[in-house]
Amino acid sequence: MKSPRKVAILAAAGVAAASLALSGCSAGAAGANANGKTEIVVASLEPGASAEALKAFSDQVKTFEKKNPDILLKGEEYKWTGTTFAAELAGGTLPDVFGVPFTDSKALANNGQLANLNKLVSALPYGNKFNKNVIAVAKNDKGDIFGLPYTPYAMAISYNRADFTKAGLDPNKPPTTWDEVEADAIAIHKALPGVAGYMQMTSGNTGGWELTSATYSRGGRMETTASNGKVTVKTDNDQTKAALAYLSKLRWKDNAMGSNFLLDWDGINQAFGSGKVAMYMSGSDVITALVQNDKVDPANYGVTTIPLESGPDAGVLGGGNVAVVNVHDTPAQQAAAVKWIDFYYGQPQVSQSASVTQSKTLQASKQIVGAPTLPIFDQATYTQQQSWIKPYATPGLLANVAPFTSTILNDNIVPEPNKHTQDLYGALDSVVQAVLTQKNPNVDSLLKAVDVKIQALIDADPDQASLK
């Protein structure tokens, strides 16, 4: 039997070894240099992406590493959601390069939660060519750039072309007014029992996002900014009430919205992919995710613009994502990250060879080429880029998205509310749910409660507290 002293020494050695192992783990995970290379982890595709999509991404990584032999790149599946992003940000588990929606980038930049990329992005060949309205979302209040906008989208109505045909509708003539959306939804629901003719998202902050889009299309706004910068929330407005009344009619009178009223972004995409929803509102570029994750056949997919009511304020909600860099990254990692952002997101927009190479890679892996987006730079650059990718576009897709692309550039694109946007969207979720699950909810009272709640949050912001 060993003496207590020997046992103690052995145990102490064990504890020390375990501690060393743990400290070794944490040091190794920092992602600094490996074999003299700068190592960065970048957001790749969403979890659940198909093998073909992952291969297409992997091929692009190889091309990048060939061009940049001093950088070692690792892709990590990533998906921004309102309810998980904050946890990943706080927990330090985000990759070095990741995407955030337009709604969040400015606040994150102002809070010092993103790396300041002002010098690196400004030095890019197209650093001063950005559409000013688009690059504004990637800047903090001081004007420093914190990322590169990509895949700007306009809200649109996606539809199942086969369902249109089965219901006796012409898939090449999708609805252009809200009344036509209603009529088509009724026709589809009658022809295809069990299929929701039209549906909107309601959960995970998406209900508010889509209600805001519906409000914009009727000329309303959720937040207004006075000349002194004071922001006022007013969801209790006529256009929002009209949008809610429209949903209520479609749900309770027409019975054309199916039976599931708790759908978030993933849920409604799955429902659309499985044929349970025929028409729904989403971003114009959603076809990329629908093909990657929900096995939607592009030949069976159509998209059109959101119906706009008359009046100068009626507009289409525009959004998008900003590629940003982890605030904890070293300067070398930040530089490598911007090189990747330039390669993956920037160059395909401005360089013919990069655009063609990316399109060929996506085409070879049966991924979507030609998903409708909005211009990041000026109109001429966008038109030119579209002409470069045209020969490689997914067969039939350009014709199917023509109802959207043929008119969207003439529409009034309106940015999302800019103060506590996700809080606002989250609070509006329950209002949309109330309309779809209760016959006569007190909409006025619900909207007023949202106004009070969000206004209190805005008023507590340092830049708003002193304004009246």
């Binding site: 103690a8 375990a18 921004w80 309102g82 010092g112 708790l262 979720d429 329950s430 699950t437």
Partner: protein, 323 residues
């Protein structure tokens, strides 16, 4: 003399004992007796508990009086986070919903395992089969079972599993989780199904300890099945019943999985529970404004409430379980 000798003779002994006592209390004596080895052995446990259990609790207390986004330096805000929570209209909604869930679970979920366990204990054949059938829902991963119920059983269309069954007897399709009125009872139904098996096993084990002579004596006194349950089984299971009661209260007060996965708190916040509200404070707003302070403040309020409730409960029921 004898006394003196004894006194003299005992003196060194007393002195030696004091010396040993002093050595016993000294660090060297502690090491020699293996105290250091014991400490080294317990050190990993202390470290793991300290890092993963106690420090987060202490950190929660600190964060509850701070405003922080975990990147910029935190600022001290005093009781503001607690005031924010108490003034949030959703707080009262969440408390009511949690209470409603706990009440429904108590009325339907608490007695059911006991009834089933008593019935199963009376079964003479295939007792193992019934035990397996009762325990299978516990083995199914919670996320899988919730999704199974959500997509299949609670499908609100006419083709949903439950609605199809109701259709056979002429009852129209029910909205289940799609309606604010029926959402919470639907969650309780699934939660009862998922958790009953574990409690049944506990009750079955406890029932084996009930002396058969007591039932024989009751039979001799002319007791039927219900009188035997009332006068023999329940009193004999009293200790277990009291423990499972408080565990159920604590468990239901912390309900999160079902409302999170089934409904995300909807429709119209009808299933937003206290724990879900904590989650929403912390993670719902992604634009750097996540209210970790309010989340930890509400967590501490819940922990405090449950601690007091448990203490009161054990004080009140102490005599019951002893007698």
């Amino acid at each position: 003399m004898t006394t003196s000798t004894e006194r003299v003779g005992t003196r060194p002994a007393v002195s030696g004992g004091a010396a040993r006592g002093a050595e016993r209390r000294s660090p060297l004596g502690w090491v020699k007796r293996g105290g250091f080895a014991n400490f080294i052995f317990i050190l990993p446990l202390l470290l793991i508990f300290g890092i993963f259990s106690w420090w987060p609790i202490i950190d929660s207390v600190i964060i509850s009086v701070q405003h922080t986004n975990f990147v910029a330096a935190p600022t001290f805000v005093g009781w503001n986070n607690f005031v924010f929570v108490l003034h949030d209209p959703l707080f009262l909604t969440a408390v009511k919903n949690t209470g409603y869930f706990a009440l429904l679970a108590l009325i339907f979920g608490y007695p059911l395992p006991l009834v089933l366990a008593v019935l199963m204990s009376e079964v003479k054949r295939a007792k193992g089969l019934f035990s397996v059938l009762a325990y299978i829902p516990v083995v199914v991963p919670p996320v899988v079972s919730v999704l199974l119920w959500k997509v299949g059983f609670y499908d609100a269309s006419a083709t949903g599993v439950f609605n199809s069954i109701l259709g056979w007897v002429g009852i129209p399709p029910q909205p289940w989780i799609q309606d604010p009125a029926s959402a919470m009872p639907s969650l309780v139904l699934e939660a009862t199904w998922a958790a009953a098996g574990g409690t049944i096993i506990i009750y079955l084990a406890a029932l084996t300890n009930v002396a058969p002579e007591l039932y024989d004596a009751a039979e001799v006194d002319g007791a039927g099945i219900w009188k035997k349950i009332w006068h023999v089984t329940l009193p004999q299971l009293r200790g277990i019943l009291l423990i499972t009661f408080i565990l159920q209260i604590i468990g239901t007060a912390q309900v999160f999985l079902e409302p999170f996965l089934f409904t995300a708190g909807g429709p119209v916040n009808s299933t937003t529970t206290v724990l879900l509200l904590i989650y929403q404070y912390a993670f719902q707003s992604s634009d750097g404004g996540s209210n970790y302070g309010a989340a930890t403040a509400l967590s501490l309020m819940l922990a405090g409430f449950l601690a007091i409730l448990s203490w009161v409960y054990f004080r009140v029921t102490r005599n019951w379980s002893q007698n």
